[in-house]
Amino acid sequence: MTDITSILSIICIVAGIFFLLIGSIGIIRLPDFYSRTHATSKSDTLGMMLVILGLMIFEGLTINTGKLFLILLFILLANPIGAHALARAALNAGLKPLFPDNKKDKTEG
């Protein structure tokens, strides 16, 4: 039962889930809004890409592979635009990014 396509797709999906998990860990560990946006949007892009790639390998050369490829394409287009919209709205609302020297000030004061 274990042929090469199943093994490849399992590897891809597990790697994708790993990167999605990293994104979630990033939200908890990172200090401010902008760095958290990095974690949520970018690790997720890579994770989703790998999961969908795994599904595409599993599916083989059928019409569903094309549909999965379209989903991948739309995620690649929509993800950065969403992250950019969030970050831009935050900057326009006056939220300043956290810098290393500010953190030092906070611990000293």
């Binding site: 902008y34 760095s35 974690a39 993800n79 992250a83 900057l91």
Partner: protein
């Protein structure tokens, strides 16, 4: 009003037809005729939107883009996404959390706005950098560590984007500055 080219209509028709076949999965005559009818209706409705120009000096992206370089660019971008994804994963998983957030400002010199759109999206897609704002020719980019904006400092990614549109290579990035504190960010 933009100039309305026959080439753009043909390209839209082919793309929509491909989308139709992908979604339906049937290739017989009846379904093809239904597809052609639907694509015709969509093109008729979109005709006025395609003619409308949203900002000054807007050009037709189909005419400007050099399609031979598009697959090459996407493969390169995918490799970059994987490399920087692993780097960010390393940063997030190390117990000391060695992040050094900084904001980078630079100006770009591009022949058309589509370049700026592609560069902005590429910057955001690569883990570790995030396009916060684009004002005219000025980009404001938030980076999680100094290693993540190396590809921007040495003009690597912007040159690749420029190559999609024109043969004449020239340095794209100017006035590069790194902001380390709140006071400098106005």
């Amino acid at each position: 009003m933009k100039s309305f080219s026959a080439q753009s209509v043909v390209v839209s028709f082919l793309v929509l037809m491909g989308f139709w076949y992908l979604m339906s999965g049937y290739f017989d005559v009846t379904h093809s005729l239904m597809g052609i009818l639907s694509v015709g209706i969509v093109l008729a409705i979109n005709h006025r939107i395609k003619k409308h120009s949203y900002f000054e000096g807007e050009t037709d992206v189909v005419k400007d883009l050099r399609f031979i370089f598009v697959p090459y660019y996407f493969v390169w971008l995918l490799v970059q996404i994987v490399i920087s994804g692993i780097n960010v994963a390393k940063i997030l998983l190390s117990p000391s959390l060695p992040i050094e957030p900084s904001v980078v400002k630079f100006k770009v010199n591009y022949p058309n706005p589509h370049c700026k759109m592609i560069l902005g999206n590429s910057i955001t897609l690569t883990p570790g950098t995030l396009t916060v704002d684009i004002q005219g020719d000025e980009f404001i980019v938030h980076a999680i560590s100094p290693a993540s904006f190396e590809g921007l400092v040495n003009d690597d990614m912007p040159q690749k984007v420029l190559k999609l549109f024109t043969n004449e290579m020239h340095p794209v990035i100017s006035d590069f500055e790194v902001i380390h504190s709140k006071e400098e960010l106005s």
